[in-house]
């Protein structure tokens, strides 16, 4: 398929394709990090993860409407406010859900799956009732549209870059929070040995709630960021759920680094295959390879070897 192209054209395409892979990577990272905390650290299967993302997207939509109506002069910067709002609102809903539902189900991980699926149905219908069944278009500030011209052929989409930067910042922030802060220590303590953590005076209930809220909040930011590249509709969240879980499981559920490595591996595999094959087949092959590897190596890529 590369007949009749000059080397520089091919180089440009490969550079662009590399960038496509990276932006898929950052999408996966954003999707998966929130879940990695909730699922990996707490063992809760949050099937409503996609709906939390969409909540973030709707928050962005509302914020953009608000800025257009009342603060048009500041419209260029609304996206940052929107992301903060998305985080706060999703985290608040997350904390509520944890309090009302999840905390009673820690002993029954399979049941959290069903309960959160129910939650996702309710949220979807709520979105449909509030925002209507149609998808909503989120208007972006001018500076986020378009691309940076690197060479004649290589153009880097600004929104792709933006998503990438957010993904990096969140991953970094999360790493600092989990491994370099007192709070992160508490979370890990509770994950590893709950009774002991309680015995040394950690309020494990509060830690759970904060952890869950944090995961949901990150989902909200992800959803907010995705308004730049995807659609926002009542059922859009469902499209993410299988990919997200596979990324987390493939990485080895308890390892945040693993999640990032696996997001990288899957995104590169998928975008490379998409380039050489047709889209649908690329997707099927990627999923098959991931499932196949997981069957051979159920603990995922970066499993901790722990004595049990």
């Amino acid at each position: 398929m590369f007949d009749g192209y000059t080397t520089s054209e091919l180089m440009s395409i490969f550079a662009m394709q590399g960038f496509a892979g990276l932006s898929l990577f950052s999408v996966f990272v954003l999707m998966a990090l929130g879940l990695a905390i909730i699922f990996g650290q707490m063992g809760v299967i949050n099937m409503a993860h996609g709906e939390f993302m969409i909540l973030g997207a709707y928050t962005t939509y509302l914020t953009s409407g608000f800025f257009q109506a009342y603060l048009p002069s500041l419209f260029g910067g609304y996206f940052f406010i929107a992301m903060i709002m998305a985080f706060l609102i999703c985290a608040a809903l997350g904390a509520f859900v944890e309090w009302a539902m999840i905390r009673r189900l820690y002993k029954r991980p399979l049941d959290t799956l069903l309960a959160t699926w129910g939650l996702s149905l309710i949220l979807q219908q709520a979105y449909r009732s509030i925002f209507g069944p149609r998808e909503v278009g989120v208007e972006l500030p001018e500076w986020m549209m378009g691309a940076i011209q690197v060479t004649d052929m290589v153009e880097l989409p600004i929104n792709g870059l933006f998503v990438m930067i957010i993904a990096l910042l969140i991953a970094l922030g999360l790493y600092l929070l989990m491994y370099r802060s007192g709070w992160g220590k508490k979370v890990r303590a509770v994950v590893q040995n709950r009774p002991m953590a309680e015995a040394v005076g950690i309020n494990s209930g509060a830690v759970d709630r904060m952890t869950f809220a944090l995961g949901c909040g990150i989902a909200g930011i992800a959803g907010s960021a995705f308004t730049m590249i995807g659609s926002t509709g009542p059922s859009s969240g469902q499209a993410y759920i299988v990919d997200t879980f596979l990324v987390v499981v493939f990485g080895g559920a308890q390892s945040l680094i693993g999640t990032i490595v696996s997001a990288f591996a899957i995104s590169q595999a998928q975008s490379t295959m998409e380039f050489f094959l047709s889209g649908s087949m690329a997707k099927v092959l990627t999923l098959l390879v991931v499932v196949g590897i997981l069957m051979l190596r159920p603990e995922g890529l970066m499993a901790l070897k722990i004595r049990r």
């Binding site: 662009m16 509030i130 069944p133 378009g146 052929m153 929104n159 792709g160 998409e274 047709s278």
Partner: protein
């Protein structure tokens, strides 16, 4: 919510608010159609349909819930509007139309079930409904078995011709041949990149497109499909950049649409520059609302109807629609096609002088609807509509500007020779 509240209200009018309407209608009947003395029920209904001396019941069958409700809501609104207008104008054979609305819930067996219920239990005289091909395929055996009449509004892939269905949207060749001929003739297009969501309509349409392009001696530089709901198009956009086609022929649907056009923009392919130009048959004004006008500005769509069509029929239709459902409503191709359904049925009933399905079928071919918002349509022997092909250019405000329209009506050809 707002939308739905209104449609329920409309439903209430349809079902319960008949008293008031009847008065109104009666006066109109007197004024307008003095000759339409109400014929006796026994004469117009020999097959035990739900027809009384002053009412006739029809069915509306679309998804109100589930993923497809996004698309189908406009059709429901249009069908209800048409029924309301017909009633205000005196109804059909002197009978007011009542409707029973059922929810297909985006689930194909539910469609089959509900159509069975409508035909069996409610004994409706006709059904206006279905949107996806899958739902139509699911109800088709039911309609054929129970001899019902379905008015199906969506543009679709063709390859079907049922005696029990009137297809009020375009079949694939009507949309595609006009689009490609226009691109070649007016824009000098030599190469096409075919792209679609992965299901039967895009695949069949692209197949027809490919055959036609190859017949013209031009090149197809790529063809591929992505799963429904796919949101990452960077790789295919790169491929397009590599292949440098003149036209991207895109049949992407649903949530994928938004992602595709946003990413296309972001990757520096600005449709307004027409290098390459983007040609679609899947983005109506309805879809643009979700994608955002600024993201699709400059793309071309091949449809038979745009909201902006400048003719008196359409102006009246758009005004009535907005009056009924609010000023912020947009009307896409399918919505207009759905609006045709009740009118075409009414005319067939009146021509046949009967509600019997067999008689309606017999008289349907040749029926003309001169007041159609799209202009003029006529039912073909094959139950599809003769209609014009039109090309619109998407504007930033979410409307299409008509840039081309075929001179003659295009003949519907659901089983096109040489394109299979």
């Amino acid at each position: 919510m707002k939308m739905h509240a209104q449609s329920t209200k409309a439903g209430a009018t349809g079902r319960w608010g008949l008293g008031k309407l009847k008065l109104l209608a009666a006066s109109m009947v007197l004024a307008a159609t003095a000759n339409a003395a109400t014929p006796p029920t026994s004469a117009v209904n020999t097959t035990d349909l739900a027809v009384t001396d002053d009412t006739v019941t029809v069915g509306i069958l679309h998804s109100i819930t589930g993923t497809m409700s996004i698309s189908e809501i406009g059709s429901v609104q249009a069908e209800k509007l048409a029924i309301k207008q017909i009633n205000e104008a005196g109804g059909v054979l002197g009978r007011q139309i009542k409707y029973v609305q059922e929810d297909g819930a985006s689930d194909w067996p539910t469609f089959a079930e509900k159509s069975r219920k409508l035909l069996r239990q409610d004994k409706v005289a006709a059904v206006f409904g279905c949107w996806t091909s899958a739902s139509r395929k699911a109800v088709l055996p039911v309609f054929e078995q129970l001899n019902g009449m379905l008015y199906y509004p969506t543009f679709y892939e063709g390859l079907e011709q049922s005696p029990n269905v009137i297809y009020t949207g375009q079949e694939a060749t009507q949309q595609i041949l006009a689009a490609i001929d226009w691109a070649v003739k007016e824009k000098g297009a030599k190469s096409f990149y075919l792209l679609g969501s992965d299901y039967i309509w895009p695949r069949t349409s692209n197949k027809i497109a490919r055959k036609h392009i190859e017949k013209l001696g031009l090149t197809v530089s790529g063809e591929e499909y992505y799963p429904l709901g796919h949101t990452q198009f960077n790789s295919v956009i790169n491929k397009i950049k590599l292949k440098k086609p003149d036209v991207i022929f895109a049949i992407v649907v649903g949530g994928s649409n938004v992602a595709f056009y946003k990413q296309l923009q972001a990757a520096g392919i600005d449709p307004t520059k027409e290098k390459p130009m983007v040609l679609t048959i899947s983005v109506t004004e309805d879809e643009i609302r979700g994608i955002g006008g600024e993201n699709v500005e400059g793309i071309y769509a091949s449809m038979k109807y745009f909201q902006s069509l400048d003719n008196p029929n359409n102006k009246a239709f758009v005004a009535a629609f907005k009056k009924e459902y609010g000023d912020d409503m947009v009307i896409g191709d399918v919505t207009q096609a759905a609006y045709l359904g009740p009118w075409l049925w009414k005319m067939a009933v009146e021509k046949a002088g009967s509600f019997d399905v067999d008689k309606i079928r017999a008289v349907s071919p040749g029926i003309e609807f001169k007041a159609a918002p799209e202009g003029y349509v006529r039912i073909h022997e094959n139950h599809h509509l003769w209609s014009k092909g039109r090309i619109g250019l998407a504007m930033a405000d979410g409307q299409y500007k008509l840039v081309h329209e075929t001179e003659e009506l295009m003949e519907p050809d659901p089983f096109p020779e040489g394109y299979q």
